[in-house]
Structure formats: structure tokens, C-alpha cells
């Protein structure tokens, strides 16, 4: 049991989350393996984003959530969170380099004389994701895929052990999604745990190590090839509308 816990990046037990009178997650229990790339899938309104936000301690919940072996407040610097695109103000006057620098500041501290170091590390991270040439450009002028790359660079600059991405492939084309998945796989290969809220079921089996099926609770979790079965997907999606590319 102890060994299992040591290998888990996220350990969630009997998690309940409610928005006012509406219960979104009830009794969710799941362990997410360290060093794996995990997809969280489920229909709209199933509680996938809520699960991530609970992990980050961004909303009240009951139950137990342990991140990297302890409470989230003890390891925030080691966790990079990328919210949904709609939650970001893309017209805000900020450059790609400044976005990547946020990751370095999250690790080095929000105050203090760390500007030069943060700048150097952010430029290295941008070079890693192929955005070095666009470092001085306003973030709002980049394509959706490039913007997500900038967020991956931010996670790299943060040197995070755990990266949580909430629907990073929304509004981007299939080619860009493939490139981004390659980038995330590279991140995983470096030892980072990657957790992605994902909608495209056709890529889960091949591109992710593990999957967590969510619909108001955790329906199933484990190796993607074992979990993405017709029976479990039917239980997860049921008659939920618009789950699009389900192929299992």
C-alpha cells in the first residue's frame, strides 16, 4: 500500500464537490500514477474540470486529496496548472516570453531579484517548445496551438513534476493536437506526470498511458487500453449528447 502511494502523483479518496445545492462529484476515488500521461475523459458536465480544480485546491471539497505525497499547499511550486482557454484573457497586453516567465516566477518566488534568471530559463523553455522566435510577440497574436505551446513552456520553466491541463486541445486542429501530444509525451519521458482533461476519445488509447473515466464520480481508471472499453464508455457516456469521436 505504501509503495503504491509513493508511486502515485495524485491520490484522491471519497471526493465530494458541490456547487451550491448541485453535487458535481460524489465519492470519487482514484490514484494517478507518477510519470504517466493520463487522460481524464467523460461527457460535458461530468466533473472533469472540477476534479482538476479540486486537486489544485481551488474549490471547497470533502474527502482526501494528496498531491505528490502531501497536501497541495505543500507542493504548489511543483505543480503546473493550465486552465481552459476561455479562462484566459488572450487580449491582455503580455508577450510570449512574459507568459513563460510566470512559470519561473512560480518556482523562484513572486518577489525578489530573480528577473534575469527567470528570463533566461523562460527563453530556454520557449526554445524547447519551438517558440523562441516568437518570444517577443503578444500572446494574443499566436495561433491556438502556439498558445498552448507557450503554456507548456511555462510548465517547463516552472520545472513542474506534475502538469495538469484542462482541455488543452479545444479549438485546435488535428495536426496541431498531434504535435502538442508529442510535446506532452516528451514531457512525460523526462519524468513529469501529465494529466489532461480530454475530449477526443480516438486518441486516448494510443497516446495516453492511463485513463480516468468520469461521470459524477470515477467510473473506472487504469491503463488506457484496458479502461477504454465499449462497456465502460457506455457506462460513462450513456445517452450523454455530443461525445463526438468515441470509437470504442
Amino acid at each position: 500500500m505504501t509503495d503504491d502511494h509513493e508511486r502515485l502523483a495524485i491520490s484522491i479518496d471519497a471526493l465530494d464537490v458541490a456547487y451550491g445545492p448541485r453535487t458535481v462529484l460524489q465519492g470519487a476515488t482514484v490514484g494517478i500514477r507518477a510519470g504517466a500521461m493520463t487522460a481524464i475523459v467523460g461527457p460535458n458536465g461530468a466533473g472533469k474540470s472540477t476534479l482538476l480544480r479540486a486537486v489544485m485546491g481551488m474549490l471547497p471539497f470533502s474527502g482526501s486529496v494528496r498531491v505528490l505525497g502531501g497536501p497541495i499547499d505543500a507542493c504548489r511550486k511543483r505543480v503546473a496548472y493550465v486552465p481552459q482557454r476561455a479562462a484566459v484573457d488572450w487580449d491582455f497586453p503580455i508577450t510570449v516570453r512574459q507568459v513563460a516567465e510566470m512559470g519561473a516566477h512560480a518556482r523562484l518566488g513572486w518577489f525578489g531579484f530573480t528577473g534575469r534568471r527567470a528570463r533566461r530559463e523562460s527563453l530556454e523553455a520557449l526554445a524547447d517548445v519551438g517558440l523562441a522566435d516568437l518570444a517577443a510577440r503578444p500572446i494574443g497574436e499566436l495561433s491556438g496551438g502556439q498558445q498552448q505551446r507557450a503554456f507548456v513552456a511555462r510548465a517547463l520553466a516552472q520545472r513542474a513534476d506534475l502538469v495538469l491541463l484542462d482541455e488543452p486541445f479545444a479549438s485546435i486542429d488535428a495536426t496541431t493536437e498531434r504535435d502538442l501530444l508529442d510535446l506532452l509525451a516528451k514531457l512525460r519521458d523526462r519524468g513529469t506526470t501529465v494529466v489532461v482533461v480530454h475530449h477526443d476519445l480516438s486518441t486516448v488509447r494510443d497516446r495516453f498511458d492511463d485513463a480516468v473515466l468520469v461521470r459524477g464520480t470515477v467510473i473506472a481508471h487504469g491503463a488506457a487500453r484496458k479502461v477504454m472499453t465499449a462497456e465502460l464508455l457506455a457506462r460513462t457516456y450513456g445517452d450523454a449528447p455530443g461525445h463526438g469521436t468515441a470509437s470504442a
Partner: protein, 322 residues
């Protein structure tokens, strides 16, 4: 004497002790407003600038009625209480009654402003404060209220506004990184421990302090223009916050100079001096100049954008901005 000669004569009558200080106070107000104004505009909270500028009135009037003085500590304290009341009131309307955000702000600050005007009328017998000064300021009289500073007599308004401008720059420099993160990506900022709610409070406090400092000189209406218009003009030309704040300060300073010149020469040029009107309101002319500056920047931007190649790389700001 022709109207042109009368206008030149009006400018010749300038004195550094009065007109120089009027322009200096206007320019200092522009610099003080540039930091919170830029942040509010970039964060899409221009309406909050309007709200704060109006909502501080009952606080200032109440503090005056209670203390009987215009001591800065009383004014700032009253304004802070009123600003917090406005924030709490609009947040209550927004969250509990699901009123749309700008509408909630509009309801909260108009109620507070009306209360403030009622208090000002109540205080009018106290002669030190009157409704027209509250609305449009009295920058023309600001150089007359002087205090000793470093062996020189300096207008009190200049010292107060300069102190707030310096405080704004210092606070923004100190809290720059978390404010930037929480303005662009609140979810990340919250997750990464940048405390976006505290950043909101810092920006609100800067705007409130600036409104209080500029209140006597510019009035509650014109200070909104000084907060919002230069920052909006600068946003048209800049892709980063620091150049945007610097350009906003420069635009505000230009408007302060142009406004006072216009206030002095407009009356003779328009022939109003024959009717006994020697000068127009400087604060009003500063506001009109702000509009002219905005139009000028928008025109330059339109020309520049038209000349850029349409190849998918067209910038949303002027190419020289970053």
C-alpha cells in the same frame, strides 16, 4: 485687439507660480493615474475606475462632515470605506442576485454617488467643499494652497499627488509579477500561489488612493477620464504593460499642457472675453484634450495599420510598441 492677439496676450499673462503649477499638478495627476489606469484598462475593468472615482465621494464628504477638515488621512480613510462598500455592494448584486457585472457596478456607484452629493450639499454651508468643485475640480485654485517643503512653498496638491504617484509606481513595481499573472491567467495565478484576490485589492487600493489625491484638483468626473482615456489610447499602440503605462503618462501630461493652454486661449479666440468670460475650466479642457489625444493616437494607428502588409502577421498594436 483681434481675437488672436487676445489669445497671445492671455498666454503672455502666464506666471510660473500659478500657470506653471497648474500644468505641473495636471501632469503629476496624469502620472499618478497612469499606473492604476493602465492596469484597470488592461484588465477590462474601466467601469471600476468610473465606479471608484464616483463612489469615493460619500466617503470624502462623510469624512469632511465628521472631522471638519480636509486632512488627507480623514479623506483617504473615508474614501477607502466608500470604495470597499462599493466593491462589497456590487459583488453582492453580482453573486447573489446574478446582476451582470457592469450593471452591478453601475447600481452600486450611482447610489453611493447620489448619497455623496446629498452629503456635499449638506456640507455646502461649510464653504470648503461644494458640488461643482466635487464634479469638475478646482485645479485653477490648487496653486494657491501652499505648504513649506524643502525651503520652498509648494502647492499642497502637487505634494499629495506626487506622493501617490510615487507610491503607485513603487507598489506596482513590487507586486508586478503576481499582478501580471493574475490579470492574464487567474486560474494559473491562483494555482501557483500568486493570490489574485490580493492583487485585485492592490489595484483597487491604488485606484482609490489616486482618486482621493486627484479629487480636489480634477474632480470626480475628470479623474475618470484621466484614469481611462490615456490608458485606452496607449493600449492602441502598445503590446506590453510597461510601455503602455509610460505612454499613458505621456498622453496625460500632453493633455494637461494642452488643456490649460486651451482653457486660457479658447475664451478670447471664441470671443467670450467680451461677455466677461476670461478663461474656461482647465479641468474640462484637460478632459477635452484627452479626447483629442485619443483621437490622434487612433488616427496614427489607423494609418499605420493600413500601411502594414496583409500577410497574416498584422499586429494588433503598432509595430514599434514592444
Amino acid at each position: 485687439m483681434s481675437r488672436g492677439d487676445a489669445a497671445i496676450e492671455a498666454l503672455r499673462a502666464w506666471t510660473p507660480e500659478v500657470d506653471g503649477w497648474i500644468i505641473a499638478i495636471g501632469a503629476l495627476a496624469a502620472i499618478a493615474c497612469a499606473v492604476p489606469g493602465t492596469l484597470l484598462v488592461a484588465r477590462r475593468q474601466s467601469m471600476a475606475a468610473d465606479g471608484i472615482a464616483h463612489a469615493v465621494l460619500p466617503g470624502i464628504a462623510g469624512a469632511f462632515l465628521l472631522s471638519g477638515t480636509r486632512d488627507l488621512a480623514w479623506m483617504a480613510g473615508g474614501a477607502a470605506v466608500a470604495a470597499v462598500a462599493m466593491s462589497a455592494g456590487s459583488a453582492y448584486l453580482e453573486r447573489t442576485l446574478r446582476v451582470e457585472r457592469d450593471a452591478a457596478l453601475g447600481i452600486a456607484y450611482t447610489v453611493l454617488f447620489a448619497l455623496g452629493l446629498a452629503l456635499v450639499v449638506r456640507a455646502a454651508d461649510g464653504v470648503d467643499i461644494d458640488p461643482s468643485c466635487v464634479l469638475f475640480g478646482a485645479i485653477e485654485f490648487a496653486p494657491l494652497d501652499r505648504v513649506q517643503a524643502g525651503g520652498h512653498e509648494v502647492p499642497r496638491a502637487a505634494i499629495v499627488i506626487a506622493a501617490v504617484a510615487a507610491a503607485n509606481v513603487a507598489v506596482a513595481a513590487l507586486a508586478w509579477r503576481p499582478i501580471l499573472a493574475s490579470s492574464f491567467d487567474r486560474g494559473f495565478a491562483r494555482a501557483a500561489g500568486a493570490r489574485p484576490a490580493a492583487c485585485d485589492a492592490v489595484v483597487g487600493a491604488m485606484a482609490t488612493a489616486t482618486c482621493v489625491a486627484c479629487f480636489e484638483s480634477l474632480g470626480s468626473v475628470i479623474v475618470v477620464g484621466m484614469l481611462v482615456v490615456p490608458a485606452c489610447a496607449a493600449r492602441l499602440a502598445c503590446a506590453r504593460l510597461v510601455p503602455m503605462a509610460m505612454l499613458a503618462a505621456a498622453i496625460g501630461c500632453c493633455a494637461a499642457v494642452l488643456g490649460h493652454v486651451a482653457a486660457c486661449v479658447a475664451a478670447p479666440i471664441a470671443g467670450l472675453d467680451a461677455a466677461g468670460v476670461r478663461e474656461l475650466s482647465t479641468a474640462g479642457c484637460v478632459a477635452a484634450s484627452l479626447g483629442a489625444c485619443f483621437a490622434g493616437v487612433a488616427w496614427v494607428r489607423a494609418i499605420t495599420m493600413r500601411n502594414l502588409p496583409v500577410d497574416g502577421t498584422r499586429a494588433t498594436s503598432l509595430p514599434c510598441a514592444p
